[in-house]
Amino acid sequence: MTNVSVMTFNILSVLPILVLAGFGMIVLFVDILFSKRLGDKNILAYLSLAGIIIAAIVSRGTTPIALYSFNETFVIDNYSLFFNFIFLLSTGLVILISHQYMKRENINYGEYYALILFSTIGMMLMASGADLLNIYIGLEVMSISIYVLTGLKRSKLTSNEASLKYFLLGAFATGFLLYGVSIIYGATGSFNLKEIADFLINKGDVTGPFVYLGVGLIIIGLGFKVASVPFHAWVPDVYEGAPTAVTAFMSVGPKAAAFAAFIRILMTAFGSTHYEWQKIVYVLAILTMTVGNVVAVAQTNIKRMLAYSSIAHAGYLLVALVAANTLGVSGMLFYLLTYVFMNIGVFAIVIILSQRNDGFMQINDYAGLGYKHPLLAIAMTLFLLSMAGIPPTAGFIGKFYIFSAAIKSGYIGLAVIGMINSVISVYYYLRVTVVMYMQEPVREFYPLTISPFIVAAVVISVIGTLHLGIFPSKIMELVQQSILTMR
């Protein structure tokens, strides 16, 4: 490393992370020390929520310039602040929806809340990493927590299977990522994203093939985390096997974190070679959208359908990455935020309706829901329409944003394929509403116990979905501001 870097340990820059870590520890200790007296363990959920709210307060606001610290390995800019907001929001919503579920499934362990908080720390590290190693560490912190969370239902085989599968495949993917990182280090002599970028601009022609190999391996590693085809094989089983609240968690935050790292690495460090990686991502985007949507059509289990739908949404996000322009990046940020609301909203309703041990998970079980529980059905319809991209919902504006970016960069073919996929997705999202409203119930609805927590989560998601769909301009300005300080 040639340039002199000042050793800066700006502790304030990692304050939100420290807050979360502190609360995670507190949750663990409280759980162990007072486990006899805690009873229903509500206090743990309150504590985690408090941690998230404090972390959100600490990391609120914007910054005019990018602040580097820890030897330029960690950066606070509007981009990372926006992602922090997404992570904290999604984790907060997940805690709201999981509280009741965990109790019902008898897995209300203290570790659950601690692991979710630790995983959020990993995500924040990924979004703030200005250095490949730091991003890698964040990824590991996030992933290892999720491997454990997936297998939280110890007594259930599918949960164990999901956890093991996720862990093994995840370890492979991490291996690829590390290979990529080390090859890049070998080729450019740095882990630092800025230095890599400078190197590539100044003497990139020296090391051609190695850089491409490294980028390719990094794309494989992160492609696994965002569930892009052909690295998606784990998704349906893991989504189905994991406790539903965990599924909700990993379908949103970790995906956003992986995209945060994806965008920052590709756009910052490898921005100058975008003609090369665009081709790879182009193919990935088409495969991911198409496989996700086409296979989702055939699903009968709602969790599996949502798994494939989540693959499809990763595909749409990759479309924006292919566009590789500021519109695309800000579009991804916007889309990820809308995805938080609509996806957690759907999972909240799935959790409300589900029975112990994953009962009531077939789409056909929802028959007649529109009459039995009209409000739930309306909310569900709203979220599904948003996922299908029908106005006036957030999903529509998000798709508009992403496909505008693709068209702006001239990828009209890609946009057309994306739109055709969007039509396919309309079919399977609509099918759920068809079942809810247009079919007679095949079985009795059990009496539901609905906690105020989960109602709050649904209400927040509904408001978010509608607000971003009808008055998106404030958030659009925010996301556009968020990418200004990126290079």
């Binding site: 529109g370 009459y371 009209p374 329409l385 029908i390 106005p391 006036p392 529509f396 504006i397 508009f400 496909f403 505008s404 068209i407 702006k408 009209i412 946009a415 057309v416 739109m419 055709i420 969007s422 039509v423 309309v426 079919y427 609509l430 099918r431 068809v434 409203y437 247009m438 079919q439 998106p472 301009s473 659009m476 300005e477 556009q480």
Partner: protein
């Protein structure tokens, strides 16, 4: 204009939706009355649009413009001209009638009325939007309530029909969406300004190739909506399964969105390609006219018959639009209104028969005239209006369309005329089988004649049928200036563009330089 009249018309139904949301779903009568009241108020406040409409200018009127999503240059930009005026009135007119026609709906009245009122907002929104993005939002928004109307309150095969309807329409409109985004960037490249304003898009000069692809994208969306042969297969299913009010709105207003789209988007935005497409679209329209009529001829089911007659009638509308002259286009707009009235009324009448007998099979009726004479009179008037009897509204539209087509392409006009003959055949034959002859079914002897509610529904429609038939100028004079301006626009732009690529296509230049633009007074003298 201090009062935001158009916004009021567009969003008052949504306020009605919120009112209904507050009500108890058991309070059916109150919910019905509220929605009737709201939609009637909307109709009455939409009347000033007609009376205060300045027919001397082609500029957009009652314009409102607010910033909506500034970072993309998207505005809440609405306004009307002589082309959209009547379609808005048609929508606000048919909604209270449809609400009234749904009085017997007992299943989930609350949700039903919410869907109806949301539908009204979306329909009016489509016709008032001057911002392409806003237009698309309303265009898609309309799908949801219609999807629910067919899917929840429809007939036995409602799920199949409604999914087909939704998928067909979405499949068409996604390409339009891409084309709109494409226009947005093309406009930015040309003017350095990010905007979705349709009026700005009109100023673009696009090359033939670009126009071609954008035209195809818009064409798919609109042709599916109209629907043009061969994209029509969703229509009979949707109509047959939809509840009566759904059919009325579907035939009366939703199909017009397609034809309106052709006039509002395709013609002025892509004049050169539209001109080149005249043969293709005209032949599709002609096939639609004949095919729709022939298939209508062999239907056993009244509703299916009316549905196929729609395919035929809308073929005429398309033919008129692509005649590229003032008679053709004015005839088309008039015919859109006429079709909304007479086909809407036919669906209402079929619905009334169905309520009485719970069947729609022609063979189950016969000799009804003796039992229900007043009903028969209304049915007769509407049937004749649909056929196009002089003195009733249908004649005006079809005549103008045929005059226009005759002026541009004699061959097309002469083939299309046979559609009118066929229309007389299938409609009159149907009427004869249902209303005349002997009563063959015992059940038909006990039928009740028209009720007061049904009178209230049908009288306004029949009044308009006569009014437009006798005094069509009340429509035509409001649209003259706008349609003329549209033709000027096409003519000018086609010239500019074809000069630019004149060398490549000398023949095209010759054709395009003389698009048939007529003088306003000509049509006035005729009427």
């Amino acid at each position: 204009m201090s009062l935001p009249l158009l916004s009021l018309i567009t969003f008052l139904p949504i306020i009605g939706v919120f009112l209904i949301l507050l009500m108890d779903s058991k309070d059916r009568e109150l919910i019905r009355l509220t929605s009737l009241l709201v939609s009637t108020i909307v109709f009455f406040i939409s009347l000033p649009l007609y009376f205060n409409f300045d027919s001397h200018t082609y500029d957009m009127q009652f314009v409102e413009k607010l910033r909506w999503i500034p970072s993309f240059g998207i505005n809440y930009y609405i306004g009307i001209d002589g082309i959209s005026l009547f379609l808005i009135l048609l929508a606000t007119f048919l909604t209270p009638i449809s609400v009234l026609a749904s009085w017997h709906v007992t299943k989930n009245v609350k949700e039903y009325m919410i869907a109806m009122l949301t539908l009204e907002t979306a329909m009016v929104g489509v016709f008032v939007s001057l911002d392409a993005f806003l237009f698309f939002v309303f265009w898609e928004l309309m799908l949801i309530p219609m999807y629910l109307l067919i899917g929840i309150w429809g007939g036995p095969r409602r799920v199949y029909a409604t999914i087909k309807f939704f998928l067909y329409t979405t499949a068409g409109s996604v390409f339009m969406f891409l084309a709109i985004i494409g226009l947005y960037f093309l406009n930015y490249r040309a003017t350095d300004e990010y905007t979705f304003s349709l009026l700005e898009f009109y100023r673009l000069d696009l090359s033939f190739a670009v126009q071609f692809w954008l035209f195809i994208a818009f064409f798919l969306a609109f042709a599916i909506k109209v629907p043009m042969f061969p994209f029509h297969t969703w229509l009979p299913d949707a109509h047959v399964e939809a509840p009566t009010a759904g059919s009325v709105i579907l035939a009366g207003v939703l199909l017009k969105m397609g034809t309106y789209g052709f006039i509002r988007f395709c013609l002025p935005l892509f004049p050169e390609v539209s001109y080149a497409f005249i043969p293709v679209i005209s032949w599709m329209a002609i096939v639609g006219i004949i095919y729709g009529a022939l298939v209508a001829l062999v239907q056993d089911d009244l509703k299916k018959l009316v549905a196929y007659s729609s395919v035929s009638h809308l073929g005429f509308v398309m033919l008129g639009i692509f005649a590229f002259n003032i008679q053709g286009i004015e005839g088309s707009i008039t015919q859109m209104v006429n079709h909304g009235l007479s086909t809407g009324a036919l669906f209402l009448i079929v619905g009334m028969l169905y309520e009485r007998r719970h069947t729609r099979m022609i063979a189950d009726f016969g000799g009804l005239t003796k039992r229900i004479p007043v009903f028969a009179i209304f049915f007769m008037i509407v049937t004749l209006s649909s056929i196009g009897l002089p003195g009733l509204n249908g004649f005006v539209g079809e005549f103008l369309i045929l005059v226009g087509t005759f002026k541009s392409r004699i061959l097309y006009a002469s083939i299309a005329t046979s559609g009118i003959v066929l229309a007389a055949v299938y409609m009159l034959w149907m009427f004869q089988r249902v209303m005349f002859n002997e009563i063959t079914h015992e059940e038909n002897k006990m039928l009740k004649d028209i009720s007061k509610r049904e009178l209230v529904i049908l009288i306004p429609i029949v009044f308009l049928i006569f009014w437009i038939g006798i005094y069509p100028n009340s429509l035509l004079r409001k649209m003259d200036t706008s349609v003329n301006h549209l033709l000027m626009q096409i003519g000018e732009k086609a010239n500019i563009v074809s000069v630019a690529q004149g060398q490549k296509n000398p023949n095209q230049l010759k054709h395009n330089s003389i698009p048939k633009i007529d003088i306003v007074s000509e049509s006035k003298q005729e009427w």
